[in-house]
Subunit: 407 residues, 2 copies
């Protein structure tokens, strides 16, 4: 597997476009269209929030029917959540406008949105925007990057990634872009990710691969613990790489799955590092757990702890808060066997071992915690399972962003 | 039931003392002793954190044996958590020093602590402190208030409360004090509460009453979602009111239970309102739920949502965040039936009804949300159950307090 360029346009046969439709007050791109020259098999994972935005409801239904997908329409101005039947109609109508402009059936067009909750889509502007998008589709790397910028809301920079790998002699690609300054955004935050591949994969296996990859990447990040109503990860596979179709979990599938995880993980880490107000990426690895579920719960409990996040913001080696967050994760373990280590470019330091505080130099600890990427390792010494979660620090800037985002 | 004065000294036969033992760098009281002239039945509820402080482990064991309790020793300088076997020995030794000073068996002396994690108790200072405490016990209201101040850490003011009520012609009292600037405190945060009563209550029934009362009061507050290793609520009942012993859940028990809930609720609200950096108390009532467990989960999800807390800090009627927090609480409900109302001294306003946003004036909403106590009402229109949770806003000050508390 190699890192590649071109984001969502890296796989063969995909084209994208971005446009400024004026859905937001800012003068910037706020709509994106992703298309494939041939029909794609599609997979998706969505928010588990009871309250679901109209496009999430519609995409789920389309996927359930197993229809092919030719295009994805995205807007980053209005979430179209909590908008009732009018919102549902507008969602469908958006797809129909794409159908009229592109000649693709609306049942093969998925939609996704992020932005303000409770507002209806301005359909006149949407129509103009779709007209512009349909005329400006391109398969180059610059357009992919422009699309990655266009889906941003409070993100400070775009997130994109691509890899290439070989399946039975054919070079395949997976590309992706994502937005989200955390699991949730102000005023109906959203994590959106769009992944493309030219590999040929069985539809059910594609869905399983995406779910498994999301569970160990996107589902392991947290900025503020708030799960949005619009979270959506879509994966389109158009098969233009002409590899032998992946139909079972064999060696070739593992190559594909590892490439998919790499793209998802790279995007997930970019999201966590760009969490609202964040100054540092926190990576928490829990090892020596009895089960994978335990390891994941424990790792996420630390990245979600407000006190641990605030301590990281202050470069403070406050291991008591980490221990405390592990303790209330809802997993049973023996604190007397636990060890805690912090690490970064500046070095590595044991803070806690065999149930008692280690002797360490506070200045060294502060140095390690002052880097842009900080790793925390907790070893339970109880089993073989491990998991990694990503988060960020909690800063005054987070409050500033969220105390009066709407006004 | 009537509100009363005197805090933990309101019930007959209790005495308290506070002293400055120098456990903390500040020059202030940091130790408290609560005693009863006659042996008490005791009940307790403790943190569910896997990591438990030495005094929590010891108190649990004493309660399990069903022994009478004569005294509670508290310190607010050092948590005595993650301190290994030395910590356990020091905890027992503290009780033995009280035994030597007071002539009460150490098995009838409970202990509680809050403060810095991972540090050992300075036993010489503890001994001097206990000597001072034993000599200055008093049953007056001023001493109760001084004790309530002495158990504070980052709290900005003391929390105490007392009520009186009548059981078969006998006037009974319940008094209490609590500390905690939220469910957790910096560097081993702690919520501690000590309740006293002169009512005569069967031991098992006393434990049940405390558990039930804690479930609907202390367990319904949240400042930052971090559950501490030291959380402890103790209730001592010395029976000096000479009422007929409460042995079953009859009418008299209900009078006692309601009085107990009133004291717990008053203290719980005081804790939430004094959450670290808080400028407002958030009260969330969920009604029309199918089960009590659902109602509680939903209410706590809103008070625990960082985005809702930040919106309250900005006086922003960002109902999308409230809806979102209800949606990810892990409870199934129909958003189309939901209504949301905010209220305070400044008025009342419907924000969301029948699945769609209500039309309302933003200035009126901001006015309501600018008060010191804000109520949020969510009605699911699905059942008969309801629950109330308390929290506070999330301010820049919270970060300032927690980013570098230790240093």
């Amino acid at each position: 597997m190699e890192m590649s360029k071109g984001g969502i346009n890296a796989p063969k046969g995909f084209r994208a476009a971005a446009a400024a439709a004026g859905l937001k007050y800012e003068d910037r791109d706020d709509m994106v269209l992703i298309t494939s020259v041939v029909p794609c098999r599609a997979a998706g994972v969505f928010t588990r929030n009871v309250v679901q935005a109209a496009p999430v409801v519609r995409d789920r239904a389309l996927l359930a029917e197993g229809l092919n997908v030719r295009a994805v329409l995205v807007n980053s101005g209005i979430a179209n959540a909590c908008t009732g039947q009018t919102g549902e109609k507008n969602c469908l109508r958006s797809a129909q406008i794409v159908e009229e402009a592109m000649g693709i059936p609306e049942t093969e067009i998925m939609t996704a949105s992020t932005g303000v909750i409770g507002m209806q889509l301005p359909m006149k502007k949407m129509k103009e925007g779709i007209g512009t998008l349909a005329k400006s589709l391109s398969g180059d790397a610059e357009t992919a990057t422009r699309a990655a910028k266009a889906i941003m809301t409070t993100d400070t920079h775009e997130k994109e990634c691509a890899v290439s790998f070989v399946l039975d002699g054919r070079t395949c690609h997976i590309g992706g872009m994502a937005k989200g300054s955390g699991m949730i955004h102000p005023d109906m935050g959203t994590m959106l990710a769009f992944l493309t591949t030219d590999a040929l994969v069985d539809r059910a296996l594609l869905q399983e691969a995406l779910k498994d990859a999301a569970d160990e990447t996107f589902n392991m990040i947290s900025v503020d613990g708030d799960t949005s109503t619009n979270d959506t990860v879509l994966l389109l596979a158009n098969g233009t790489a002409e590899n032998t179709e992946l139909r079972e979990k064999n060696e070739a599938y593992q190559v594909f799955f590892e490439a998919l995880c790499e793209v998802c993980r790279t995007l997930a880490k970019q999201l966590a590092a760009d969490g609202e107000g964040a100054t540092a990426l926190m990576e928490v690895r829990v090892q020596g757990a009895e089960s994978l579920a335990d390891a994941r719960k424990l790792a996420r409990s630390v990245t979600s702890s407000s006190l641990t996040k605030a301590a990281l913001n202050g470069h403070d080696a406050n291991w008591g808060r980490i221990l405390c967050a592990l303790g209330y994760a809802g997993v049973s373990f023996d604190p007397a066997k636990l060890s805690l280590t912090i690490a970064s470019k500046a070095g590595e330091l044991v803070l806690f071992e065999n149930g008692t505080p280690a002797e360490y130099d506070e200045k060294t600890a502060t140095g390690i915690l002052s880097e842009k990427e900080v790793r925390i390792l907790a070893d339970l010494h109880a089993g073989e399972e491990s998991a990694v979660a990503w988060g960020c620090d909690l800063s005054k800037e987070y409050i500033a962003i969220n105390a009066d985002y709407r006004s």
